[in-house]
Symmetry: D2
Subunit: 142 residues, 4 copies
């Protein structure tokens, strides 16, 4: 159960994600988290693409990242993702970013999203969607 | 007349626009051209924001950039922009990217855009808009 | 004094900063904060460009953003920035992102940065630099 | 031979790559081409990461993209890449961007890169590298 609740996605660092410090610029971790989150949703049967086509959007209302070790160009990256909390109008996700080869911890993060309709008005997450977004305890301290 | 037809916008290179080569990553020049193009349109009385609100979009169908000298973090940049050609359904812009302080040429570029409606179907540029997008000869070889 | 301690920078939302939700993608607020932070440093006499040229880098080790209202294409944006805390090896900044025309609050944020040398090893912020990075109480709740 | 000379890489469109037009922002195709190019080089035995570690960099000096059909969020993308021309100090690549599922043509592109050393001075591509970058005729008209 615990394992199922934490999804995992892998990719390589793109050149254009680095900055002149020689490491990945910190904004890209939010993109990686988004990638992991939509992958996680797809795995539990919720296509974010279809949600938007049906008029439900989940904008990010809070994002926090702790950067622990730099990621570098061409590094194989793994992002693990899980639901931390789900309510009628809000859902939170946790993330661990690590080297896919060595398992070295690179960053931890969490984001909160709210449900809005096509006019950007606050709405509720449909029960069928909410039922699939099962919260699990943080697998690591984030 | 010639001078009026070439607009100019200035800004500084952002840190996050650099890559590990220590210079601006080449994709950002397209963002700078977009900035210069919408500034140019605003100056001749065409708000691209309003165009989109009215259902007209101008997606880029061709973009070419020649990179001549690297731009670096914090450099003051000037982008000069002009209309190269305007037709019923298409408009092309030219760009010169240069150091704002020394005038050093950094890049030249040109882009072509087509007019589409809110369903992404090809449409015509309204005559009132087209009348403001006056083509001018290239001020430099691009 | 309090006013001097909070810097302010303004710019317009770029088209490429929006996403298909029709608002600014959340990662760009980190770029805006970086812009405000380096502007703030420049105003108090610390050029981040020169710091890096001298071998001192300030990578972000923590970043948190609370998104309150969406920003849209072409909106005039103001980011106010201040030092929250400075220690021998770490400095934290606070940020308020707002509409430059109406003053509407769009987001608040804070980031922590550590000092590293050219080999990415932890180092101390030189006293002359640290003396200029004067902490001030948060002007708003962030 | 012809087939070997054209590499292929696949990925999905990221949410943050879209803009408010509801399609992928045109700058990201340059990032995709870069991804395809470094994959292509890796497949023929040239690690761009190692090249840079040895002091050889290949900055882009020209990039042209023709956008034919828009790419959308979550679309499966394939980029095919090949060497168009290789000289002592310069190498050019061609690209076809297409839907990975339907094969629909989305864009074609070409880029030219020059060889520079760690001080950004023009240099020659080492013969051992050049021997692996074998040019092939364009598989499609670009």
């Amino acid at each position: 159960m615990a394992d199922d609740a934490v999804s995992s996605c892998e990719f390589r660092v793109r050149y254009g994600e680095t900055d002149q410090m020689g490491v990945v610029h910190h904004r890209h971790y939010l993109v990686w988290c988004e990638l992991a989150r939509t992958d996680h949703m797809r795995e539990v049967g919720v296509s974010y693409r279809e949600l938007e086509e049906q008029g439900l959007k989940l904008p990010v209302v809070e994002a926090c990242v702790r950067y622990r070790q730099p990621a570098r160009y061409d590094d194989p990256i793994r992002v693990r993702c899980w639901v931390r909390d789900v309510r009628s109008r809000q859902v939170s996700f946790g993330y661990v970013v690590e080297r896919a080869d060595t398992g070295t911890l690179l960053a931890t993060a969490h984001t909160s999203l709210i449900a809005v309709d096509s006019r950007h008005a606050l709405t509720t997450i449909p029960p069928a969607i909410r039922a699939r977004l099962v919260a699990t305890p943080d697998p690591v301290r984030i």
